[in-house]
Amino acid sequence: MKTASLTFWQLGQSHEHRRKLEFAVLSFCLLTLLWLGVSIGASNVNFLLPLESLYSRLFGTLEPSITQSVVLNIRLPRVIMALLVGAALAVSGASLQGVCRNPLADPGLLGISAGAAVGAVMMILFASHIPFLHVAGPYAVSVAAFAGAAVATFSVYSLAQVNGDIQIPTFLLAGVAVNALAGAMIGGLSFIADDQALRLITFWMMGSLASATWTSVAISAPTLAIAMFAIYRKRHALNLILLGEANARFTGIDVEKVKTQLLWLNALAVGVAVAFSGIIGFIGLVVPHILRMSSDTNYRYLIVNSALLGAALLALADLGSRMLIAPAELPIGILTSLIGAPFFIGLLMQQKRRMGFSL
């Protein structure tokens, strides 16, 4: 798998060279999509818009037009949110695959995203009845989503553990169970919700970045950045856990402690991502896989590359969701699932054929 699809990257002569090239390509994709995301929109398409807006913002010489304020206050926070959420989901998927020593782990499949959605939906429904929480607004929803994600994460994890070992069948079944339970809870909540809340719940279930504002960026950016950086700092431990938990322990890693820390960080990243964008599936599964196929499994590079590719992919998906049926919007979660699900099926079929990976 690795050697067969290396052709493009083999342009780089050495490993180091290849890695630099890869980093450059991914960064370039990300910047391009940032540019496109800001330039292209339902109201108009103008590739000079970002420059014009930036110029008028910095020097104040031009009178800002309506389009420019659309760019600065609607498109830009939305694209930034897409980059942040995409990076967080991809990093979360990559680290969960390490914690579980299984390439099929993903915050969506394990029910973590659904748990976060339950927390967020409950907060939306009940916050209006509690005066203080209503004021707290987006913060309260984030905290509730984080709590929901944490409950789901640790339920799945403790269910899957048998004598200190993760049993893969139990693990996937636990994910199915938590997903089903969360789905039922959201169903029940939407049953008692009024029309306005129902619209919001639907938004949560299908995923959308349409409501991104500078406020939501200001809340999520530092949280997600801290979570991702903290996960990146565990890269060596994640590599060693892939070698087997016994080997990790012998090499000086307190496996239980590292895993617990990583699970909390995952709950934080996924909780905050879901609080502002709803459930967006398959990014966490697909991104590390694409990277493993084309380059490195080593977490030294995988975390950073996942963040870059995840951000670029979600920005691309957001662009698609805005443009495909413009002026209406396709929910982004539906788009990522439409692309991700066939990819996942392909992955399963490939695993059946290959020896190396074991389910």
């Binding site: 798998m1 690795k2 050697t3 020593r101 299984n102 390439p103 890269r235 060596h236 590599n239 060693l240 892939l242 070698l243 087997g244 016994a246 080997n247 322990r249 012998f250 090499t251 000086g252 890693i253 307190d254 493993r292 499994t297 080593n298 030294r300 190396g356 990976f357 074991s358």
Partner: protein
């Protein structure tokens, strides 16, 4: 400098896996742990490595083992478990490099240690190969190289231990002997090939009693969780002791090259 066990016992689900063991292994000695399947060899190794619960006392270089953190232990001993499963595509180079934590050594130093360790197990030619594409024996040699790299990375500590659980189980005849010979050199004090100031002791689980006899200083014979004997190969590899512990008749002869005992099982 030594590793010492006193009144070491392990009970799992009411069954005594290890029963009141007392022994001392010194650095610069190779000790072979031998015994039937289920005699408690791997459990003993895990206790000595500091990752299993036990009753009694184990000290590593005079420190009670439970007082040392996993990170500290990793500097004083390296362990090769019976099997290692890796399901993700790593290169051999990366697998060996994992033995060294990030930033503990310079890049050149790390590369030197990786090359040295692979050379010791005759795996230099695999360095750029995908680990998953290696054969079972080749994987085992690469894992051993990783363990040796962990030991090398802490060369400034003078006295350290290697714990190897069946390092030769998947190896061909040539590599069984070359691996044990390499260990023999590694543990010989004042060996010019390595840092002469350091002392390395090894505890190795082996099933091939002849390998144990030719290359190990001491034999630790376990039977049903009890320590039957801890002595030189000459003292332990005698017909009646083997018959009692392994239930098999053997002819004991001495090897023409080294005068070490070697065993030939009887066929009837």
């Amino acid at each position: 400098m030594s590793i010492q066990a006193s009144n070491l016992s392990v009970t799992i689900n009411g069954r005594k896996i290890l029963d009141d063991l007392n022994f001392t292994c010194r650095a610069s000695e190779i000790t072979a742990i031998v015994g039937e399947n289920g005699a408690g060899k791997s459990t003993l190794l895990n206790c000595l490595a500091g990752v299993s619960k036990f009753a009694g006392k184990i000290t590593l270089n005079q420190y009670p083992i439970e007082s040392l953190s996993l990170a500290t232990l990793a500097k004083y001993r390296a362990v090769l478990p019976q099997s290692s499963s890796l399901n993700f595509p790593f290169s051999v180079h990366e697998v060996v490099r994992l033995a060294m934590s990030l930033g503990c050594l310079s890049q050149t130093e790390q590369e030197r240690i990786i090359a040295d360790s692979l050379a010791l197990v005759d795996a230099t030619q695999f360095i750029d190969r995908d680990y998953l594409h290696l054969s079972g024996g080749e994987k085992q040699r690469v894992q051993l190289a990783r363990v040796l790299a962990q030991l090398h990375a802490h060369d400034h500590y003078q006295s350290r231990f290697l714990f190897l659980d069946e390092p030769t189980s998947a190896l061909d005849l040539k590599h069984q002997y070359s691996t044990l010979k390499m260990l023999r050199e590694l543990c010989t004090p004042n060996n010019v090939r390595f840092n002469p100031a350091r002392k390395i002791g090894a505890l190795v689980i082996v099933h091939d009693l002849n390998l144990a006899s030719f290359y190990c200083d001491k034999i630790l014979l376990l039977d049903g969780g009890r320590l039957i004997a801890h002595d030189t190969p000459e003292k332990i590899f005698q017909h009646h002791i083997i018959k009692k512990s392994f239930g098999i008749d053997v002819i004991v002869d001495s090897h023409p090259d080294s005068n070490k005992p070697y065993l030939i099982p009887r066929l009837q």
